[in-house]
Symmetry: C2
Subunit: 348 residues, 2 copies
């Protein structure tokens, strides 16, 4: 299934699948080969979308290419994913998602029926989230130079809140909230791809997240940072944020909701749900005093009905900054690492 070496090698000469994992190899690729040529203050923010001034308006801008295989999976498809994924990246900046672009890279031989289904799905997802697909592009590549259909969406949102929602705004004492159970997208896609059946239902969590986020912001919760969990799972998001914020996070494995289906599948396959991909889950950093209000607001939205506190931001000595400690069910602590290589490629 995955022949890619999970151990990072320091001097890569060519691209490997793990470079697309969203984990350590992706970070190294960007640091070594991309950022030296195009660095600027916005990229350094290390955020899901860039907050930009334009005229006298503040906007959020983000992009994502979707190369998932298979195109249709339990709980969603590439079209829905391409809309929700970009909507979610905008929401994580506290922006109201407004406009999306849609660029298609089609492989010669793709069936029109498939294109039709995917576009219908994009249309429904756009309507459901209140965004407009306003501009697009279509390219075709020869047979054997694609995988049916790749979609890029870029998105623009309006930043209405005056709060600065960035990793740098996270404070010691903040509570870490998780919006629901983890790992369903990654495990459902893997099961579909490999033709595995577990005897229990498994569906992606693919969903838009802008409504619970807007609920927090509109009701005055002092949200410090938001991050949706995608490639690399909860673990990678936590480590990235701890490093960017320069703080220590402590989380409890006991408090992290994992469905029986995902837990069962992970045990059978020898995977760790902490690293499994999600497409409809996020974490929020809020002051401890606002936890109850925040959880009440999140509980009112189906997508974040089971939101809970999974940890906190610790005051630590400078040498311990940038790390994540996880306490397991036996009360033992260990350091959490980001996904090194690739658990499962082509997940989004």
């Amino acid at each position: 299934m995955n022949t890619d070496c999970p151990l990072p090698i320091a001097t890569e000469q060519t691209i490997r699948l793990g470079h697309g994992s969203g984990g350590e190899l992706t970070q190294r690729l960007l640091r070594q080969f991309v950022l030296p040529h195009i660095d600027n203050a916005w990229l350094q923010q290390g955020h899901d979308s860039a907050a930009l001034p334009i005229g006298n308006t503040q906007i959020a801008f983000t992009t994502d290419s979707f190369v998932i295989t298979p195109l249709f999976f339990p709980g969603g498809d590439i079209g829905e994913l391409a809309v929700f994924g970009t909507v979610n990246d905008l929401a994580m900046s506290g922006a109201r998602p407004l406009y999306l672009s849609c660029s298609l890279i089609l492989e010669e031989g793709l069936e029109m029926d498939i294109l039709q289904q995917v576009m219908a799905s994009m249309g429904r997802a756009a309507t459901a989230t209140g965004v407009q697909l306003v501009t697009g592009d279509t390219k075709v590549v020869e047979r054997g130079k694609g995988d049916g259909l790749y979609i890029n969406t870029a998105g623009i949102g309006l930043v209405e809140s005056l709060q600065t929602i960035t990793p740098q705004a996270i404070e010691v004492g903040d509570a870490i909230l998780l919006s629901g159970d983890i790992g369903r997208h990654g495990i459902a896609v893997m099961a579909q791809r490999e033709g595995l059946e577990f005897g229990f239902p498994l569906a992606s969590d693919c969903a838009p997240l802008h409504q619970p986020v807007q609920a927090l912001l509109n009701n005055g919760i002092d949200v410090h940072c938001l991050r949706d969990l995608t490639r690399g799972g909860l673990a990678t998001a936590m480590v990235e944020l701890a490093e960017t914020a320069g703080l220590e996070f402590w989380i409890s494995e006991d408090h992290i909701p994992i469905s029986e289906s995902v837990q069962g599948a992970c045990e059978l396959l020898g995977l760790d749900a902490l690293y499994a991909a999600n497409e409809g889950r996020f974490i929020a950093f809020v002051p401890a005093a606002e936890v109850d209000s925040a959880l009440n607001l999140l509980a009112a939205h189906p997508v974040s009905r089971e939101a809970c506190v999974i940890g906190r931001v610790n005051a630590v000595a400078p040498r311990d900054r940038g790390r994540v400690i996880i306490e397991n069910t036996l009360g033992c602590e260990r350091l959490l690492e980001r996904l090194p290589g690739e658990q499962l490629p082509r997940i989004c």
Copy 2:
């Protein structure tokens, strides 16, 4: 070189290379399979970028995926193209290009050296055009599921001018200006791809166009419409604009500059330069009374030094609207058609 049937078939069941031509097949694909699901007022404008209100600011938003082969060609590379192409689409709305996203789809096995060269080229192109690459994404696909490297850029520009620059703003009596000689990008890429050598220099016209456009707008030229010439060439752009505007255009083949190199290559290969791709040329529709001022302004910029008038917008009966008449060197007139299928795939 190109085994794709050039004749459109009415009931396609699968994607063919011609669907990516930017010509008639692309239009039909969009009409039949894409627009029914995601239509809105912005897509109906049929413009290179969408002009959008956000807060109390007017912005332009556009996207393009670049799948060109080879990645490096005489006069440019995919990185430069990905920046200039999106900058040009923004410029054609009269917007000042400000921010770009950059999404990479990398094929397993791509050499890091190539990625490094392309990113360096993107960085230089961004600096040269004054845009910032503010957000990005990196995906990796397995060997045989890509072609080395695909790049998507989306772009945001600030619309400062109060002029409405759209196909609908074109008026009877307008002069049609062309910014320089045509066909160099398409012919240079074809020559490189096929290993052809002609004994005369051939290089892409790949270049940013925002400066001559800003010069026209800042100096009060009443620009009605702008369009950069890309896939499908001058002919396809003219036909698309005539149809969208619902007007008749008349152009003279004698007045269209074509370099000796391109003319020679076209004669050898049996191609028509009117349909060859460009990446650094545009047409402008301006009132006849402002032609001299416009040409003087364009002449001051190297990229549009040889700008000239190639035709005009005619007053015609309703039944003749939406067509383009071209007068050849013998004084005979014929109707111009858009590129039906595909002259050369993967050109941008």
